[in-house]
Symmetry: D2
Subunit: 354 residues, 4 copies
């Protein structure tokens, strides 16, 4: 198993390297008779595209998705959906100077040790470019959960140490950082500029909210929905931590503080983040992920080459200063995929217990 598949009933398999011919994804288990067009998927890809604002790389990726199977007369057929996004701007020569050098913080070192193959062209399979396939699959997952009234919103909770103090949904679309606090957004822009000027990069925290999720999603023991969400989100290269509801703060609470009192009108608080014993409780799902700063920085760093010789490296290229905001649609996609899968799993139960 190469580890490129996720999901049980809604199953997503991605393929493709950053500088190969194309990136793609096969989606198995999408129910039939759902309307779906290329433009539905394209919309998600466009949100992930670079070129919006300062934080992002000037490299121009015109990602155009093509549906190759699984759709007939504008509707899903129930058979595998194959999506392809061609790699247009694949100038792998740009990577020639790092051909034999392990870039710090990247997968170069570990892939080489795992496979004995050195694909220096921008990270190969480990490249952030692989996430374009996730976003494409997420658009289809989004259709499945959207039909049930489940909606996902993700935004920048923290960037370069600056924290959004308030969550105003209206603010999110008002700034390219997708921060729900316009004041904080301004400061974050400043931090991005600083980092750019110093040839460095910064990290941040993305918060993801799921509204309208029915209770009952998630399976006992290992396939708890928070466990599957944690896996899906940590599988994004940049993520170094994940927390649900009160998260690490829960570790500092007492039981009487942390337990969410239940009333006939619902839960009074939401420290559980909408999940109890691994199963959704009908409340809002709340998750946060810690994104490390981008590893490719201009600042000189110590490393070694494939022969073990110490070298110094300064990565020039066209790189983002932060994965935020481009990582946000990727987080949304992963959450959509997990929810679609568990929604289908829960459907089996419902129909069989009638």
């Amino acid at each position: 198993m190469s580890g490129s598949s996720i999901g049980v009933l809604f199953r997503v398999t991605t393929w493709g390297e950053s500088h190969g011919r194309a990136i793609g994804v096969v989606i198995e288990g999408c129910p039939p008779r759902i309307s779906l067009s290329e433009s539905d998927i394209q919309e998600g890809l466009d949100r992930r595209r670079p070129g919006q604002g300062l934080s992002v790389s000037p490299r121009r990726e015109e990602d155009v998705v093509q549906i190759l199977s699984g759709i007939f007369e504008g509707k899903t057929t129930g058979t595998p959906i194959s999506l392809i996004i061609k790699n247009r701007d694949a100038r792998s020569e740009a990577y020639d100077e790092v051909r034999d050098v392990f870039r710090p913080g990247h997968g170069d070192f570990t892939y080489y040790h795992k496979y004995g193959v050195r694909d220096h062209r921008g990270g190969g399979r480990a490249s952030g470019r692989e996430t374009v396939a996730r976003v494409a699959a997420g658009a289809i997952a989004g259709r499945i959960i959207g039909r049930e009234g489940i909606y996902i919103t993700a935004y920048t909770k923290e960037l370069g140490g600056i924290v959004a103090e308030r969550i105003s949904y209206e603010d999110i679309d008002e700034n390219y950082i997708r921060c729900p606090d316009s004041n904080a957004a301004l400061k974050m822009e400043g931090r991005l500029e600083e980092a750019k000027n110093s040839g460095d990069s910064i990290g941040g925290v993305v918060e993801i909210l799921v509204r309208g999720c029915p209770s009952g999603l998630g399976e006992p023991v290992f396939d708890k929905i928070d466990a599957d969400l944690a896996k899906a989100l940590v599988s994004i290269g940049t993520v170094k931590g994940v927390e649900i509801g009160a998260g690490f703060q829960a570790a500092r609470m007492s039981g009487s503080e942390c337990n969410d009192p239940i009333t006939p009108d619902g839960f009074l608080t939401n420290n559980a983040g909408g999940i109890l014993a691994g199963i959704t409780n009908g409340d809002e799902i709340v998750i946060r992920v810690a994104c490390k700063p981008i590893s490719s920085v201009e600042k000189e760093q110590r490393t070694v080459d494939v022969y073990g010789k110490p070298v110094s490296i300064s990565i020039k290229g066209r790189h983002d200063v932060s994965v935020i905001p481009r990582i946000i649609p990727v987080c949304e996609a992963m959450v959509s995929i997990v929810l679609a899968d568990h929604l289908l799993r829960q459907k089996v139960l419902q129909v069989t217990t009638k």
Copy 2:
């Protein structure tokens, strides 16, 4: 899929309810010809057992494991290993008074909404008792990784807001909290006592270190080893957050700070927590999990019954004040299981590429 299985090549399936006849686990994929006896597994169970110190429930669980299959003449045969632990002290009458009430923070509410079945006897499948099967399976996983020189140490990093300021391996076994800082341990004991006296509970943070792990474990994209570790750990009922290496702190660093410089002698720092692009880099693996406070508290709480009527509840029973330290062997078991699985997956690669 009921969600009770984990792993691809080393596959663990647990079964059993807290107050049923027994708890058990089937392990598929254990290599043949490994020496294994019941006492090897019993040792792990004894560490998980309550009755050690103040923090733990006076309930006496004498968990005795029996091997039912997969061993012949003291060695594994390569076929499924079935382990069973009988439930001895299953006085479900103790739960009669909560028969129709959803305990806050527990899975009662969500299981009822998922299955339409109310098994009030101590949480049924959602009970912490299920973890006895994990620990038993973890003992076998531990044998597999131990043969390769991989060792896991877990300890209490934080309890009730008190943080271990230093990591002294010798201290871990000196206090029943398994805290690597004896001074902090004393204060933690005080916090436990306070919580007990006030009829409340407290949470904490467990840190897990893996030493001796070779580079190359983990698969690209979705089955990254940190993703699989996150899933395995968040699948423990009490865990609300997980972080690898610098974790959430990485989100506040710059790239030049966060990247671990590589030298001919290895990495200079370990913000990556031993994992780069989802694959182990040969350095120590570092993970932390946030454990929420135990949900069963004597303090009165607001809730509803199965008919939706508001009620007030005070859970007397024999409950721990904190999942720490009993959760520590469970964390170790889950990490062992994930590592054993990925070790076998990596072995396939090694043998096929020769």
Copy 3:
């Protein structure tokens, strides 16, 4: 993966060796709120039990099933069902004389070469005794498909070269061979006697009919329902061939003969055996399996021991003359398991396309 699991949504994992402590099975994915008692399962085991008529071994297996989990107050809970059958008559000394000899036709030779372990006690995991776990799981699968009006009947179509010329359902229960043609049954009994007297064994053909199966079960491409049935049936140790509908006879037909004409009242013929393009068409499912003669015979045979030395062997023990009729409930169980799995898979589709 040790290969001991089958099914996607209704998943069966068996464990146990013929002369270990017990045989068992874990069933995942059984819907909640189905009435189920030990006696429901016991009934199936009793039909598989030896001691009925001449063909079967005088060895007395009193297989008593115990439910260890997944049932609460007489109903399934939706969590894994664990069943255990203790091995009572496990006199492994009886096998001492074949300790170092590979019995022809048995798995001794291949298991030894695969695992490097020699478990001589009656076949270990490869023993026919493992099928007791399949029959137990099949009883639960039978409950799931029975609720939908699906019924399975299997019988002896051929034994020792004698063919049932007619299919009379009433006759099946009239003879211990479970042959639907009483005249043929008499001759078959004669053949069994002959074989027994000559210290030999005989093979036969079992035919399985499924009535009441709705159209739409089965998945395109690889998980066709006939493909999954073929796998499930060939996984029974004794089976060397399987055919659906006209089977090998279809290879001798012309297209215009073989195609089943469709009318408003259904199909005029059933050469397809109820399956078109891997999906049930609502007609009766018809399958036949070829069972080889039992490998343990008293007649002397040439073989080698574990050191490669040629030896001659005459297996005395208490062995059946034919796997028929005891294999019949095993065939029914495997078909039930596959149908239950595909029924659940089809349910997902139905509920999601509404």
Copy 4:
């Protein structure tokens, strides 16, 4: 799960409809550093292509494979290999007249009842065209097993009732039917001509031999290698039966006849077909599959339309008279895929037990 994936460690997922944009396949688990070019794969596709001799459709499918990922500098990288074959000659108008009619023997009826979608264009996902993806994947599987000295030969054992009386490897390539008996081949050609002239089709039997297979491949209980081979072969749309070794003939033998005597030099006979208790014994693997006659015939047949009205149909189109010989590379591909998967599974065992 849409059922479009097969294999555990070597995993093949196909996608695409007969008249969509393309057909493709993703292969996960191929070991790294294996030389692989498009022409290696193309060779297999060319053998499957129509246009060779009388038996085959005049429709010209110029199947050209493209590798989209998983290969770098002419070698596999260990990451998913994505292959695509564009559909060039997709004149779906040819199917307009059967738009609303269920063709007898085809999947039209069952797909419609399963999905509620009618894709009339030549069978959609159920079309034989899907097998092009299997052959492409089989070429890669073939590289893996070829490195271990395992070779597969398949040929026409029987066609339209005419049986190959002898197996002469040299003869196979001498006739387009791939019959190992040139005399029989001549008669088979006659039968094909007859069938063509009468607007009908014929079926046949393909025999597959595997030489050089080491002992030890296959897993106990459900994932026996013969069980997995049976599934893989029955998953080919045209196959209605499968037998291993003596197959159905074994059901008519006595144990002393059927058991293959073991000598220091190997087995004296091969009724087992190279497989004992589901594990290869080092002898030649022998399998036969029954292929039904092609369902599309010019002869008039009775059927109904989607509204349930009885109609009569005569399928003109450009259809083969028999799936033989084109199905032969498909059978080889499926056997290759199963063997590659089990070879990798056995490798895990070998490396871990050292």
